[in-house]
């Protein structure tokens, strides 16, 4: 029993230290960035006032597929410490319903990708940071603009699929909770 316990403790320690090779990490980072870029693109389409409702709804469906179920956006502003939490779908719907006649969403050409850490269930988790500039304008001259930092959770998992009778292993990336902070830039 003692030997069994030592063995299981050792294997747990080894598992906690199991690291992804630098080459693999680079490939996963690229995949994560691809998903983040997809999200950025979808947000720009949903926020665009010229996008027809049916198209925006379809894009919201695509955007939702990037996330693990239950993902939330935590949004705060410079004027208050309070954070409002929305399910991602609700966040997209609010973005679509914003009362501006023209909306311009621009993404800064900068990102930061954290290390990947293993969580108790064996999946890896990381955070990608990106920055967004939002400008809204109404016909009556009302203007609003802000710059937000978006810290996006990414989950990385090794999955298996059957293709023509062969089992293929691959790394999959899904997005999770996003913290949205207004910056003073």
């Amino acid at each position: 029993m003692f030997v069994g316990l030592v063995a299981s403790t050792l294997s747990a320690q080894t598992a906690q230290k199991a690291e992804i090779s630098p080459q693999r990490k680079q490939a996963i980072d690229s995949l994560a960035l691809e998903k983040v870029r997809d999200l950025s693109k979808y947000i720009s389409i949903i926020g665009n006032k010229k996008t027809p409702y049916s198209e925006a709804t379809r894009v919201m469906d695509r955007a939702e597929e990037l996330f693990i179920p239950g993902s939330e956006m935590g949004v705060s502003s410079l004027t208050s410490k309070e954070v409002n939490y929305y399910k991602v779908r609700k966040y997209f719907e609010r973005l679509m319903a914003l009362n501006y006649d023209r909306v311009n969403i621009k993404w800064y050409d900068i990102h930061y990708i954290s290390d990947l850490e293993r969580q108790p269930d064996g999946r890896y988790v990381g955070v990608v940071t990106i920055y967004q500039r939002f400008e809204g304008e109404s016909d009556d001259g009302l203007k609003y603009k802000d710059t937000t930092k978006k810290d996006i959770t990414i989950y990385v998992e090794r999955k298996k699929t059957q293709i023509a009778g062969r089992t293929i292993e691959f790394w999959d990336v899904l997005l999770g909770d996003i913290r949205v902070t207004e910056t003073s830039a």
Partner: protein, 277 residues
Amino acid sequence: MRLSRFILPVLLLFNFHVFAQLGDDMEDETKFYAQTKQVNQFFRRFNGEENEKGDRYYPDDKQYRNNKLRKKYIGMLFDGSNANFSNDLKVQFAKDVLDKDKPGVLDFHAPGWTAEVQTVFNIAGKDQNVTLFMELEPDHLGYKWVISHMYSDIFSTYFKRDTTRIGQFLHPMSHELMFMNLRKAFLSVDSVAQFASKHFTPDYLTLFLYEVKKGNMKFKYVSDVKFHFFQIDGWYFELADFNRPGYNTGWLISNLAKISTDKDKEALRKFIYHETP
């Protein structure tokens, strides 16, 4: 050694990189490059584990934990607006951290760092501040953040007592009367804490879990986060997020203290956790 000697070369590196690829929003983007955007980036910059673009260095890379690189980064990891810690103290800290024989590096998975999370809970219709102290704990195949301590004024007021004066007590022969005088002890709820041992310290986390489980405390939001580090031998520093204009932004060292003895360390730890010394 002046800190500007650390900071300037790094900003120049950022400027060079950004000039190369940006147009109209150059100023803003330069700021974002300089910003320590994640706690993860603070670790990497402190340890000298990434280049100026944020690309990671690995142990096999020549520049990994390079002392010159670390020297450049460490100067820009302090909150420049804080006059509470002197330039001399920062230089002394940098000297210890960059010691060639025994460099001080931060380890994400090692003990010796704690998150202090300010939260707001609704209790009986009123918003109340609750501080949660969190630590990383190994579990099964990986790690997770767990609550190690909790503090809130809503609980602490119930345990305030003056142990210097002779207050109310149960006399030393109470046991012969089957402690019947406990009835009188519990008549006044205000003085009941006087009957607890002088060595007693309240465990707020237990109370907190009880109240949440009973449905008496409803989580609202996280209002602020900072970190306490004891990983560098002989030093304590605090890490906070600075969201403000300029280049000295993001996760920066907001407090720094030299701790000479284990006694100093323990006193500081108790102060952070609001434990009575």
